[in-house]
């Protein structure tokens, strides 16, 4: 084309990235790629095809990992782990630093390979993915250096089994491997079946930097290979990023195994545009949210919620902007959106769009070439009930739904099973921070979206998973407190048949305590316990208790100071009745001295947690320039607490207080065999200004009540001490609630083990709020 022709059209032309080096790499491996195990590549086994989605061309043959391959990889990781963990932090840091340097120096190679394998635009792989990978290793070289100091009292898990998705193949690898290695673990990682190539190139970098054999092992394959890693007995911790469906299966599969688990799952993140937003900025935000990486982003702002007053203008601007997006050859530097990763995904997007279209929504689309491409798509006239509003499409499709008021916006934003991310657009800082606090999401971007940095945690609330990746909170997911052993104490079956001698004295009626009121058990039955009769709670009592807890949500919004006052008052009133509680505990068979010690401990716990209520606060992470990144500690919500059978008072207090000090509401199942200390305790609650519904107590058969709690979708966390931890973990998979299970007698509830920051961490989740600034 002549210059004069171009002067007429002023087209950009094409700017293809040169792929010859990567082509040569692929040719070098044309006979197939094996796994990377114990520092060396295995011979290719039974292979599957890997294609470039933009062209459909088969570019590599990669080995399908068998159980034997997984065995070998786990064994290599196991052999390497003690030595790796025994290195000084500084020595581990040197390796991670070397990896960061080599990734940086191979940036172009890795970016081109990623683009060919995944279909994402070269601009993104070059400017976003690979630089973030390098940043992640640099940052974690730092954590390796500091791990012993910063995470004192913890140890690495051992061998980590990690399964990652295809949307950011190398970046997700970095998010998994960097913290694991920094913390002293070794890893077996499986890249996604569609996109295994950069992981194998990364393995070559591991060789290049001389990483000790077995520290990083890469096994390729499909879901079956991933399942084999997750299920492997030699794996101490499982980290998974992918769909909520598979995450739930992994939760069930790992239940009761004692494996650590972090899950980073799906989302349907809200993108809230207030009336006073900079609309042009918000439009670019939508581009960065949903038309980034073809919309194949777990935290994509897929639901635009816009103030009715500016809906028409925003939609007009979005429609115009969408038309300037260039969809096509991912290797062209002018491409905004590349190929969908695989025809299977394309078919899924199309199917969902057909379902949506059948509901009568309005669909506006940009243009896309033939092949494995999907155009940028805007869906309007879409109700919250539409399949397009609820299902994670994982494609470049955004819905626009109007709201009337800020409250309406929050309700719509939270009207989802997910809670990964949110984006809020307003030029009013009051509005921004108010909404940021109310929207349930692990990451909140104010006037920006899809901003990442290794120094900030990333991860979800609700069914978007648990655990964080990045920053201090991410490191904590790869260190554990020294393993605890307990024993299974099976309490006696509760007997509801009257007749046993209940002892002398004026009879006292122990009821359940729900919503700030004493309540008779729904069953109408009681069971005999030391000291009298206790209500025989059932699933309906649990239901009522959770409902009462749900109504007490304002507890979490109170100041730490206010909560502290209630806890101090609790301690004061407990102290006033110390003699009575001591007697009660002694009546259960404890020595007078032990009983007194337990009551003293309970009083001290009140003071300690009152002290923490306004002190266990978050952090401001050092991330990008001109950004404040707030890591806020927020309560989980409603926590089901099943208390140890031993230490009937101190056990309960030690678990309930950290939960409520951090703003949670609790449904407590006290010691099954000695519940009357708990029912005495509700009288103390009543006299201590504890708002109704914050603490709810249901006595009765421990494991039956625990199961109901664990299965309850309105319960956000589950702490269980007893012998049925596996059941609790499995039953918690329904809404992916966070769990903490421990056998009885694994710790001394009256001693120093019964409190600490670890309890507070479990009672909170971190919300990272990104606030860019500029006058």
């Amino acid at each position: 084309m002549s210059i004069q022709d171009i002067l007429r059209t002023m087209d950009y032309g094409t700017a293809p990235e040169d792929a010859s080096i990567v082509t040569a790499w692929l040719e070098k491996h044309q006979n197939g790629l094996g796994h990377f195990i114990d520092g060396a590549f295995t011979d290719p086994g039974e292979t599957f095809e890997v294609a470039n989605p933009a062209t459909g061309e088969v570019i590599a043959h990669v080995t399908q990992g068998s159980e034997a391959d997984v065995d070998a990889a786990v064994a290599a990781a196991r052999r390497a782990q003690p030595k790796w963990a025994a290195l000084s932090g500084h020595e581990r840091a040197r390796y991670l630093y070397a990896i960061a340097r080599h990734v940086q120096q191979h940036t172009r190679f890795l970016a081109v390979l990623e683009t060919i394998d995944n279909g994402k635009p070269i601009r993104e792989s070059r400017d976003i993915d690979v630089p973030l990978v390098a940043r992640h290793f640099y940052h974690h070289a730092g954590w390796a250096e500091l791990a012993e100091d910063e995470f004192a009292g913890t140890e690495p898990y051992g061998v980590c089994g990690q399964v990652i998705p295809w949307n950011f193949p190398l970046l997700m690898l970095a998010w998994k491997i960097a913290p694991a290695l920094a913390a002293g673990n070794t890893v077996v990682l499986k890249p996604a079946e569609y996109t295994p190539l950069t992981a194998l190139a990364f393995a070559e970098i591991c060789v290049e930097v001389g990483l000790p054999a077995g520290v990083v092992n890469i096994v390729t394959g499909d879901g079956a290979t991933g399942a084999a890693i997750v299920a492997h007995k030699g794996v101490d911790k499982v980290a998974f990023t992918g769909s909520t469906e598979v995450g739930r299966r992994i939760r069930e599969q790992t239940a009761g195994t004692g494996k650590g688990l972090t899950l980073e799952l799906g989302g349907k993140s809200p993108f809230v545009v207030m009336q006073d937003a900079d609309l042009d900025a918000a439009v670019e935000g939508v581009v960065d949210a949903i038309w980034f990486n073809q919309g194949q982003v777990c935290c994509a702002g897929a639901r635009v919620l816009v103030a009715e007053a500016v809906e028409d203008r925003l939609v007009a601007k979005l429609t115009a902007r969408m038309k300037t997006l260039r969809v096509g050859d991912p290797l062209d530097k002018n491409t905004d959106m590349g190929a969908i990763v695989h025809p299977v995904q394309l078919a899924r997007i199309r199917r969902l769009m057909e379902e949506g279209a059948a509901e009568g929504v309005t669909i506006t689309q940009g243009e896309a070439p033939e092949g494995c491409f999907y155009p940028p798509t805007l869906v309007t006239d879409v109700a919250p009930a539409s399949v397009l509003s609820t299902e994670e499409i994982f494609g470049p499709v955004v819905t626009v739904t109007p709201f009337r008021t800020p409250d309406d916006a929050v309700e719509l934003a939270n009207n989802t099973a997910y809670g990964l991310a949110a984006s809020i657009w307003s030029e009013n800082v009051n509005t921004c921070l108010d909404l940021a606090g109310q929207i349930k999401a692990g990451v909140v971007w104010i006037n920006c979206t899809n901003v990442f940095d290794a120094g900030a945690g990333f991860g979800g609330y609700r069914e978007s998973g648990f655990g964080r990746e990045g920053g201090r909170e991410g490191m904590m997911a790869y260190r554990r407190h020294h393993a605890r052993r307990g024993e299974v104490v099976e309490p006696a079956e509760p007997h509801a048949i009257p007749g046993e001698n209940a002892g002398a004295g004026i009879d006292r009626t122990a009821k359940l305590y729900i919503g700030g009121r004493q309540a008779r058990p729904d069953s109408g039955y009681v069971y005999q316990v030391p000291g009298g009769l206790a209500g025989l709670g059932n699933r309906k009592d649990i239901r009522n208790a959770v409902e009462a807890a749900a109504k007490a949500g304002s507890w979490g919004a109170q100041t730490g100071h206010n909560r502290a006052q209630v806890l101090y008052y609790l301690g004061e009133n407990l102290s006033a009745r110390a003699a009575e509680f001591t007697e009660r505990l002694a009546a259960f068979g404890a020595s007078k001295a032990d009983a007194k010690a337990e009551v003293d401990c309970a009083i001290r716990r009140c003071f300690w947690h009152a002290a923490q209520a306004d002190k266990f606060d978050g952090a401001v992470h050092a991330t990008k320039s001109a950004h404040v990144t707030l890591a806020m500690h927020e309560p989980l919500g409603i926590i089901g607490i099943v208390c140890p059978d031993v230490a009937p008072l101190a056990g309960l207090i030690s678990l309930v207080l950290p939960a409520i000090a951090m703003g949670n509401r609790v449904v407590v199942v006290p010691s099954q065999s000695k519940p009357l200390a708990a029912t005495d305790f509700y009288q103390v609650l009543e006299t201590s200004d504890m708002p109704g519904g914050v603490v709810n107590i249901v006595t009765g058969p421990r494991d039956a009540l625990a199961k109901t709690l664990a299965e309850h979708d309105g319960v956000d966390g589950m702490w269980y001490v007893g012998g049925a931890g596996a059941m609790v973990e499995k039953a918690s998979a329904g809404n992916l609630k966070q769990t903490w299970v421990e056998p009885d007698r694994a710790r001394d509830w009256i001693g120093a083990d019964g409190q600490g920051r670890g309890f507070l961490h479990r009672a909170t989740q971190v919300k990272n709020i990104w606030v860019p600034y500029g006058a």
Binding site: M1, I3, L7, G13, D278, A281, E284, C448
Partner: protein, 321 residues
């Protein structure tokens, strides 16, 4: 009256504060978007050469110095007529284009020299006026200055706004001043210099842009070249979006001129990308887009010579202005 490409000239409108005060510009978002123009679009090889040639058509080749003389202005005009060495024009195969710059921009007393030197070239002479660069001069004298420059043959007048009025948010007074200036311009086009480096916030930049357009500006221009900070991409983005909003409200197309500190050929590409992405093809023509620049032409010439010969060029082998 229409512009050279046939767009009807902006007649202005009554001051409408709702288009001004309701808009808040988010700086960090503007900076993020602005950073993307260089990285999201890549113009290479023949296309790059064409885009650089186009940039030459858009240049207001400028000299605004205390030591300007008739001789200096004549040299500038000679370069304006023949911005590229003949061998480069031939190498690019654009002899038929009749390549020349968008305008020559000078101080008022230099206008007669420029008009004479450019006679028959079709290149308009632009004059700064209204007490350029600070504008702190009585309004009647500023209006007189415009009239004088127009009488000397200036076809375009680059006025400066009163920063004080913008900083105080006295939009009515600013509107009145610019409107009076537009009237003083008569047939000459008015380019309103906002001196954005002195307006403090992007929200103010947007507001001042909107006021100037409502008062009848044909172009809005970033800077005099004399402020501490001159043309930047985030400021340009803000002005361009204001211009788009105005166009949506009134149907009139307004021109944009970044000026000051734009020196590299690469920047010429980034700004053209900005115009094309935010506004479209029409804003890559000299009736709607100009670069206020002097040294950028030299860098473009060197890049184009490299395109033609494959060898890196040296500036001493190109004619100076």
């Amino acid at each position: 009256m229409t512009t050279s490409a046939g767009h009807p000239r902006n007649p202005g409108m009554a001051l409408d504060l709702s288009l001004i005060e309701g808009v808040r510009v988010n700086r960090s978002a503007a900076e993020r978007r602005a950073a993307g123009f260089g990285s999201r679009r890549s113009v290479k090889k023949t296309h790059q050469a064409a885009w650089l040639v186009n940039a030459i058509r858009l240049i207001d080749l400028t000299t605004l110095s205390g030591d300007d003389t008739a001789g200096k202005v004549k040299r500038l005009c000679a370069k304006a007529r023949a911005p590229l060495a003949r061998r480069i024009v031939e190498g690019l195969g654009i002899e038929d284009v009749g390549l020349k710059v968008g305008a020559v921009c000078v101080y008022p007393t230099m206008v007669p020299h420029a008009v004479e030197a450019l006679e028959g070239s079709g290149i308009p002479v632009a004059s700064v006026a209204t007490g350029f660069p600070a504008g702190l001069m009585p309004l009647d004298l500023r209006l007189k200055e415009i009239e004088w420059a127009v009488a000397q043959g200036a076809a375009e007048i680059d006025i400066v706004i009163s920063r004080e009025l913008a900083l105080k948010g006295d939009w009515q007074a600013l509107y009145d001043e610019v409107k009076a200036m537009r009237e003083a311009c008569g047939e000459a086009h008015l380019k309103a210099i906002l001196a954005t480096g002195e307006l403090g916030t992007l929200t103010n930049v947007h507001a001042a842009s909107m006021v100037a357009m409502q008062a009848g500006a044909d172009f809005i221009k970033t800077s005099t070249g004399k402020e501490g900070v001159n043309a930047t991409l985030p400021v340009s983005l803000t002005m361009v979006r204001a211009l788009r909003d105005y166009g949506e409200a009134t149907g009139y197309k307004i021109g944009f001129k970044p000026a000051g500190g734009i020196k590299a050929a690469k920047e010429a590409l980034a700004w053209q990308v900005l115009m094309k992405e935010e506004l479209g093809r029409d804003w890559l023509e000299p009736d709607l887009f100009r670069f206020g620049a002097s040294s950028m032409l030299g860098d473009i010439e060197r890049q184009l010579e490299h395109h033609v010969t494959g060898r890196y060029a040296a500036s001493h082998r190109h004619a100076m202005s």
